[in-house]
Amino acid sequence: MEKSNVVLHVADVHKRFGGLHALADIDLQVEEGKTHAIIGPNGAGKSTLLNVIIGKLAPTSGQVVFDGTVLTGRKPYQINQLGIARVFQTPEIFADLSVLHNVMIPALAKRDGMFTLNMLRALDSETGIRAEAEHMLEDVGMLGRREMLAGSLSRGDKRRMELAMCLIQHPRLLLLDEPTAGMSRHDTNTTIELLKKIKSRGMTKVIIEHDMHVVFSLADKISVLAQGRIIADGSPDEVRGNPKVQEAYLGGAH
């Protein structure tokens, strides 16, 4: 039988903020090529977990292993260079630069590494990177806006551009923090279509999401987080039928 291939392993992670036990005993295995959703009520610790994975927060104990490499203790840029990209809850973009440059920068990071002193080469001569970025923008339907300043885009477009910034690096693992938060129904559906499209490319994804419609249209596997603990783990159908999940969502925390 085919053995599942775990690419990301969050092992026994605890995170305390003073007296608050934000994450307790988290053990999470994400399989290669799958879309793994983490859901849970507000304050369950979803964003904390994502921040621990990406290196923004250090866990109090435990570690995160990506494809045999321990991520814990590494800097965000080192983690990115290993092949992990992240979309933020509020888009983190280069607001003062053009859309095209926003997408070219991550492509250069992928090609040239974390630091290069290429100050005498003209940016205009980077035709390969430029073409790659334009192709990526076409994929997310934003080619027509490439010369605009990123800061002047609508919220939905900023998010799509941020997604393009991550995808152009061809990451092995993509982390998405509420990719449709604050979007209209229409924008949400376009984003779902976009995410489905990249699903077929075999990229592993971890999604944190509030919107059940999004979760059930995309996820292969769901982990439910409540009060810092994983209370359920399984396929969408298993999770949907789990009484503990229904209690966490409908009975208590809200």
Partner: protein
């Protein structure tokens, strides 16, 4: 490499070169066409262009760049004293030394960002100033300032059998660098400095600096180690400052500690903001304007003002002279302060923003005058 330089950049560089080289002609009617002031225009232009690489592109506001300017001056004067009176070795020596100094200071200061970075640079610069003034007197000659004497060893000149009569002055291949020769020497360096800054701003490296200014968090999560980028920008701008300081020593071979004081650091910040932060041409224009007004306004006195206002009735002219005299002479900083406040409030993008708005106005009214468009290239 398919393109060496875009058309727009090439025109900007050409236009800049012409404007600079023709300065003795077009500045004469303004009473600024004499070599001393023109040299200072070039020197502080270089200082501001370099400062803008750190402040304008990367977004780190240093309040201590005069330290590198001063180090450049001292290094150049030492080169004149120990090696040779030729200017080229002095320039190289000054740029290398100030670059190394900037590497150390930058490494320490860039552990913080924002206001803490600014305060750290200010602290280091004031420390350097005080050291130059007191403890390091054997190197800096303290209060008197470092100057050239006949007794200096000048090993390279001595080896070539050159001897001097009278006060030694810096030369270029045997030519003295006073007056207009000094101006064109400095102008060559300003044009070179501008060209390099243009290349940096138009390179992938320059785009990274702008990205750091825009969003440092995103840079890190995109896989860039931002520290070496910021440090490179810091060192480059420190080398520019050292180059400017060395040129000041070439045109006037005397280095004093007051060159490193915080007011000198503040001045280059004012120049950059006044001209337009982040633009290529803006900081140079800011430097020229400040140096021009410093020169013109500080030379005015009550007598000149009385003659100027003499068309007014006696009583009135006395009052007007009394008021305006506060804004000239030693009080010219008051005028500078007022001008600065007005620019920052009404044109936050500096003079370059004013130029851009004017250009937009012309374009809207349909009559795009070629005369203004030459200077309104959005310098990026």
């Amino acid at each position: 490499m398919t393109t060496f330089m875009s058309r727009k950049d090439l025109f900007l560089l050409l236009g800049f070169t012409i404007v600079v080289l023709a300065m003795p002609i077009w500045l004469a009617p303004f009473g600024a066409g004499y070599p001393d002031l023109l040299q200072r225009f070039m020197i502080f232009g270089i200082f501001a262009v370099g400062f803008n690489i750190l402040f304008g592109l990367t977004g780190y506001l240093s309040f201590g760049h005069a330290a590198f300017f001063g180090v450049g001056s001292y290094a150049a004067v030492w080169s004149f004293k120990l090696l040779t009176l030729d200017a080229i070795p002095a320039m190289i020596f000054a740029v290398v030394i100030s670059g190394l100094f900037a590497l150390v200071i930058g490494f320490l200061c860039l552990r913080r960002s924002g206001i803490y970075f600014s305060i750290l640079t200010l602290a280091f610069a004031q420390m350097s100033y005080n050291l130059a003034y007191s403890v390091l007197t054997p190197i800096t000659n303290g209060e008197t300032g470092l100057q050239l004497t006949l007794a200096d060893p000048r090993v390279l000149d001595a080896a070539m059998g050159q001897t001097f009569v009278g006060q030694p002055v810096p030369t270029l291949f045997g030519q003295q660098l006073g007056g207009y020769a000094g101006f064109y020497f400095c102008a060559g360096f300003l044009i070179l400095a501008f060209f390099i800054a243009q290349r940096i701003a138009g390179s992938p490296f320059g785009m990274m600096l702008k990205a750091i200014k825009s969003n440092q968090t995103r840079m890190q999560f995109t896989g860039f180690n931002t520290r070496p980028y910021a440090l490179s920008a810091f060192v480059i701008s420190g080398m520019y400052a050292g180059l400017a300081g060395a040129l000041l020593a070439v045109t006037d071979p005397l280095a004093g500690a007051e060159r490193m004081q915080w007011t000198a650091s503040g001045e280059v910040v004012l120049m950059t903001i006044l001209g337009g932060v982040g633009t290529l041409v803006g900081p140079v224009i800011g430097a020229w304007i400040i140096k021009y007004f410093e020169n013109i306004l500080s030379a005015l006195n009550d007598n000149i003002l009385a003659r100027f206002w003499s068309f007014l009735p006696d009583g009135v002219s006395d009052v007007v002279v009394k008021i305006t005299s506060k804004f000239v002479g030693d009080g010219w900083h008051l005028t500078l302060g007022l001008a600065f406040v007005i620019v920052v409030i009404f044109l936050p993008g500096g003079i370059m923003e004013g130029v851009r708005r004017l250009a937009a106005l012309f374009r809207r009214s349909g009559s795009s005058s070629p005369k203004t468009s030459a200077r309104t290239q959005p310098a990026e």
